[in-house]
Amino acid sequence: MKLYVAGLLLSGLCIFSNCSTKEKGTASAESYRVESITMPEGLTAETGGLDFLPDGRLVACFLRGEVMIYDPKTKQWSLFAQGLHDPLGILAISASEMLVMQRPELTRIKDTDGDGQADLYETVTDDFGVTGNYHEFNYGPVRDKEGNLFIALNSASGGGGVRPEVRGRLDTTGRSAGKEMFSVVPYRGWIMKLTPGGKLLPYAMGFRSPNGLGFDQQGNLLATDNQGDWVGTSKLYHVQEGNFYGHPGSLIWRKGWNKGNPFNLSVQALDSMRTEAAVLFPQDIIANSPTQPLCDTTNGKFGPFKGQLFVGEMNSGRIVRVMLERVAGELQGACIPFIDGKGLKKGNNRLAFAPDGSLWTGHAAYGWGGDNGIQRIVFTGKQPADIYSMHLTAQGFDLTFTQPLDDASALNPDHYKFQRYYYEYHKKYGSARMDERMIPVTDIKISGDHRKVSLALDSLQSGYVYQLNVGSIKTLSGDSLENKIICYTVKNLISPDLK
């Protein structure tokens, strides 16, 4: 086994600010600080997956095929496995056994002789098609409480082709005449369920580029999707068996499908089959390329957002926070930036919580606008000044804050600017914000503990994103809010009889 000690290398070579282990601009007054992990020399650290072993070490896989283990105590890297094909997900079973999602298979890698390196690579499932199109990435696995695994299969890119020899049954009837993404082998554009017995079952369809699977605290399966054709803006879906989430290509693999090329169906027909997202991430406002959703299970070690979700963002140095609630039986909710900049790099592709409660983020670019490497975000113990949650009410929204507010600034109507809009469902790449309109706030109340502000709006309609820009609201201790834009997706309204 080879060990890599890289700390020495930096002193002479560091020319970029992000080389240092502690980023600049992280004064002690901050609630979170970002640290960069020194990567092994020579590694192209395009991070495809992150997880923590039961012994507290980090395991990471990288797109050129390596699986490496990092010991945060000794800051040393060791090679566990290599030669994998674009691994984009890893699930640690033990210090000697992991599941890795690579292009051709979901593979169990094991160190059976105790030398610290995998020597057994077992196929867990390869029961899905591959055409060689560059965009047929595979994501996951994530495991539910019953022991089922879920993986996601990206659609193929209209900018790429299909190789002369494919794996799986080739059916080109589902290919668009245009540049849309497509699915010509099973089950591209699907999320699949692997039972504990090893059977791979098609689970839900209609995904374009679902680079992120996870569960919320209640165990609901979630997946992100990326803005593009048929995806007006990036989204977070609550994934349920049998549902279609909007990208047409995958429909040809639906059991009993008899409607021919799904791209030839009318938008209305497709829309009527579609399940809308729980949360929309408005493009250029919240996220342009969201990745993995990860539930805060740290029980306060990472700050006040227990049970909420963090979602990586590829296009900027940002991690997004998501809060969900059930309205009329369905999940919906709001998204808000969690951390912006502060030394955080772009390309936040994978997230994992360390046993100490720090949030690790693995970066990737892979030809897109991201970055490489691994960083960690540490809660300093200082309570952030932020919107803790946003709930829909019959009249508008309740905002709960992480700290008590100064009443005068919290009750100032100029400090709440709502606009609402929707995104068109169409084959065009992305959508403008449609029917955009400012919505006046008609009433503001604050709770006795100064933490909750209840806002009444002039009107509320389902099917719209409600974007709130807050002004200079102060906490009782005089802090300004960290993040001032929050977007709530009103999939359903509170039903009138519950008023």
Partner: protein, 368 residues
Amino acid sequence: MQTRLLLTVFIFLFVIQAKAHPTKDTITTITINAVGGLQYDVTRFKVKPGAKVRIIFTNKDDMSHNLVITKPGARLEVVNAALSLGNDGQKINYIPHVPAVLWSLPILGPGETKTVSFIAPGAAGIYPYVCTYPGHGVVMYGAMYVTNGEMPAIKDDPNIPPNKKTDAGEDDSAHHDHMTPKIAHAYQEEPPYVCRIFIPDASPAAIAVRLPHELSYCWDAGTCHLRYAWQGGFLDNADIWKGHHDAYGVILGTVFFYDKTDYPLQVDKPGNIPVVAFKGYQLLKRYPEFHYTINGIDVYELIKPKEDGMGLIRTFRIPKTDRTIWFVADPGDGVSYQSSGGKWINGKLKILPGEAGRFTITMTKNKP
């Protein structure tokens, strides 16, 4: 459609006219495509000061892109101005209203084409062009040289993306014309080792393996058999590692064996093509031993170099079978065969159940 036709005719006439009067009304037409991997396929071109220029811009990628020509040295300023548009960027195609923007083509969706015409500045200089779609401008750009002279050597040109200075792509990756790629991993790669990547003439689930003696082979997990073998360098993965476009690892050697059978292992009698399934591999002193099934029968296959480096030795283990196994080969596949057991009948090796527990097939390169 009609407008486009008219435009084409117009361009045609214009070009004819330009040819007829080379000193007057000459138009320089530049075709630039946005292609996969956040890049323009043309990253620099040259026009004369005051020349009439037409840029035909086509988006051949699967994402949205624009093209903005800026004043000299103003690329990042314009990129940052576009980023700061935030909320309102999309409506104005991420083209900021700043004086540093000279000409622009709006956001094009995949497959779209648009043209811009302008008179090149009278002042010689290097005018950047860039995609200001958020996140793209850092890597997706090029340079318009307005000059009566020559452009600098491409490898020394600081005005184009670093990875476009050679044909081979990333600086840290191999050049196509080099036999030994530069370091690409955080560890020393001593043969044997496995590399799973898209390679030609196999399914997308193929496995490339590097062996000592500069031998390499492609064993296909999609079809469960040895597809081909080569000698020389291993693979140049520079193109595929750029990401974001269809690509293959390039074979850096000479292929000496190419399987031409329908499937090399057959059950009971020749011609029975089995149903196969890939179960994985274990590393034995770092050599992969593949595990797969043929008609449900477990097969293990380990491939090593011949001691003299002149071919491969394939060791098969079929531990539990009561069936006769046939190993078939095509005489034109580039190698000659020897086996540790079984009986050759008309070029096919018959292996009885008692012999199948372990047997080797030695494949020796034919003399050229």
